[in-house]
Symmetry: none
Subunit: 203 residues, 4 copies
DNA sequence: TATTAATCGAGACGGTACGTCCTGTCTTTGC
DNA sequence: GCAAAGACAGGACGTACCGTCTCGATTAATA
């Protein structure tokens, strides 16, 4: 049986130093050129301390992002709900476009995606810890729209989210086209057209 | 100015050996564990010959896929056009789902995507050589549907393609849900709802 | 300031394996075709372990010779001292001639000299570790002869050693003439003529 | 049977360019870092042209020195002969010391010696073409001294030359001591003491 | 409070691959 | 038919990291 390290003895100071170093280095040199050795050096930590607690480079980086999210524990991911679904979604999608354009996010997010694509375990963790909560917040807004009769009541919300976000995500990931506010608006319009409730009566 | 190698002197025999070796090795060991050194050894080629003609490992692998595509020169990428757009698209999307499920494609395509995400130059080449022609074939089918009045005449076809394909691609890439024939069908239905022509008259 | 490796952590087992491998390989393939890579492979050692502790191929080979010399710790380098300087020197010089003729010594010693000529640092180490102690033993014999009145009391012993040995060394190194016992004797005779004490009295 | 290149077709312009380039590069980067490729590039010559006409790097470099010597065909290597052997020898030895101290000679001469040590064929050529004539000139001066009764008539002149020059050469080659005018003088004095004629009479 | 056992920073280790450089041969093109 | 140009297979270079492995030196919970 393999001896597991005792989490109780774990040095919190080292853990924080490692996550911080990882975050900084991803920004500075990019994920591909990030090395465990550099993280250890920057964090003033022995390499073994990293290998003891994380199974892979990707796990460290993912944790470093999670640490950020968890920082503000009760942070509000809820989407705006003014009653005007189209306006709310355009606001959110334009914000997403802006976020993707921010070079400070560019590197780390690409890094994360790179690793997630090839590591199912990491992908599961990513969905559970990061994507899941965000998606739930989005679905909550859509359910509100369904209740307001602005969206088909029987719509598959997972599919709906994909139709709304996947084009944007793909365009960014593969750099297959410009990300503009207009593009965000167009996506929302297409989405609403696809998801609007069936006209009443006329059976 | 950097001296460029003279393409006229390039050894076709070496080029083929390298591309073949790359293709085989990606299948055998996966992209992450693929090394230039192994490709050179398998191809019976000096490492310098690879470095002379390709800027990165990703470029070699991309080329090795391109070589496959180009193998059958007059291959027909055209989509079926029976006149029934919904049926045709469902056929195509179900085929795409099946292709993504094939473990023989899984590895290499993920590999390619991994590299493309982080290498803009590679991404551009990928779009030009691989994605571009395929997208053109798809757009041709959509234009045919526009002429038949089955699709809004003023639809942005790039956006349309994204709405149709990006959800499928994202679900596969991030493993965020099951890829089933039913899912393919559902995507087509959403797509058609979003893209159908505006009802005539009634101004 | 360049970080120096910590000698306390040095692996003695690796050090020995490297020196042994170097010695064997010099004999087998010659110094010119000796590679760090081959030494590392033969010694079952990472290349970095060699680069960590030695600055050059020549330094490894020099050390591998030194290790041999140090093997017998209390080995007696003292020259014979029968009281008959001429006889003693002829014995020693004839032995040197024989040593130079031994093909097992030929290769490695030429190798070492090759490197020493072009590498002042190596040359210094060579003089300190190998040539120095030997020269001291020789000078001890000459001092004994001075006390016995067989050699000029004011003779420069460094110069004396050079006059005695350099012709032999040069003839061997440049292959500019035959190395015979007679040649050894002739050198000793010339040396004694040059270095004998000035005749007493007769001011 | 191996096809030999036809010397008649040899391009004199290329040959000169190669020898010049070799000489320059030895001075600039040293013999150890001298490469055939660099010579070819500097000379504006194909590598094959070098491999066609010379068997080794050392041969090119030796030839490059020979070309220099042959430049002035009837150049006078004769030593001064004022009748005062000691003064003449001190002049010559001091000049040799100065020459060895000249950094412009340092590199190339060490280079040559490096190669000669390990390549008997090259050594033979060196002795025949370069060292031989110089030694003859020196022996001529010594014979003149013998005729003048300043040197033992039966002295072995080869041995004599070695006693005179080898200490200087060795000290320079191995950097085993300082090369000063005083050292040159001391060597001449020792040499004369060793080689002076036996006192007459007293049989 | 002393003991003891795991974690810590540090970094050497055997390895693998990197990307560069050079070797000596071969091929193409121009003179 | 030699020459320049330079691509080629091969292989060593010296470097960077990998993941493992010792080292004392903390450090924290048990005795």
């Amino acid at each position: 049986m393999v001896k597991q390290p005792d989490p109780a003895r774990r040095s919190e100071r080292s853990r924080q130093a490692i996550l911080t170093a990882a975050r900084e280095l991803v920004s500075e040199v990019g994920y591909a050129k990030l090395t465990i050795e550099a993280i250890a050096a920057r964090a003033g930590v022995g390499k073994q301390t990293i290998y003891r607690w994380w199974p892979s480079k990707g796990a460290v980086v993912l944790d470093s992002f999670l640490a950020l999210s968890e920082a503000g524990p009760e942070q509000d991911m809820a989407l705006p709900d003014t009653g005007d679904l189209e306006a709310d979604l355009k606001t959110v999608m334009r914000a997403t476009v802006a976020e993707f354009a921010d070079p400070a996010f560019e590197g780390p997010i690409r890094a994360l995606n790179t690793e997630i694509i090839n590591d199912p375990a990491l992908a599961a963790q990513y969905r559970e810890k990061l994507a899941g909560p965000v998606d739930e917040a989005k679905k909550a807004r859509l359910r509100s729209a369904q209740r307001a009769g602005q969206l088909a009541a029987d719509a598959d919300l997972d599919l709906a989210l994909e139709v709304l976000y996947a084009p944007l995500y793909q365009r960014w990931l593969l750099r297959s086209g410009p990300l503009t506010p207009e593009y965000a608006d167009a996506l929302v319009e297409v989405f609403l057209k696809a998801m609007r409730p069936a006209p009443p009566g006329r059976p």
